[in-house]
Symmetry: C2
Subunit: 99 residues, 2 copies
Amino acid sequence: MTFDVLAEPHRRDILDILRTGERPVGDLVELLETSQPLVSKHLRVLREAGLVDVRIDAQRRIYRLRPEPLQELDAWLAPYRALWTTALDRLDTLLEEDQ
Amino acid sequence: MTFDVLAEPHRRDILDILRTGERPVGDLVELLETSQPLVSKHLRVLREAGLVDVRIDAQRRIYRLRPEPLQELDAWLAPYRALWTTALDRLDTLLEEDQ
DNA sequence: CGTGTATATAACCATTCGCGTATGTTATCC
DNA sequence: GGATAACATACGCGAATGGTTATATACACG
């Protein structure tokens, strides 16, 4: 599973950033306010887990999100979701959305 | 986040079991085919993360699932879900379900 | 062709973590 | 009250992991 990959806060931060669009490594280093080797290391883990994809642009590597593994995570979560989406909860949700 | 708690396979196994109903520790030890101290340790982590709840019945401790933290996980996943539930993907899903 | 830029990798360290073994604790039953 | 059952906790160990520092690689540009 990809849970252990997502267990790292920096890696979740990277995904959150890439969700808004692809980025070169330098951007991630700036936004995360951390060291470049650390970002590269996390990106490698994300890449090997299939959560990101790389594209080469001259000296830069542009990283892009790949949501497929998250889809598997969503599938794992599905049976649990039934536990809090009872009829009553659905009503609550509707009321919130309507408000 | 509860991601690091779920990163451990045994802990996910425990949750999968408790999803079918509450269980004493001994049951979990048998079903997971592992040692009792290990199960107790994982249960402690799950308890501190709010993912399970204990009830005392004589010498036995009955554990029960608490889905609230999973709901938070689901909330984290929500914005990503939009990435694969585009109009086209919805069509694919419909076709699969119809088949 | 040398220099600067962008990124990856290597080597190392400290910490954390899963696991096993041994022991403590509490309740039941004779 | 002693023995047993069910579970938690303490301790120690090896492996994995996040992080830093230093170095390698590849490209652009004068």
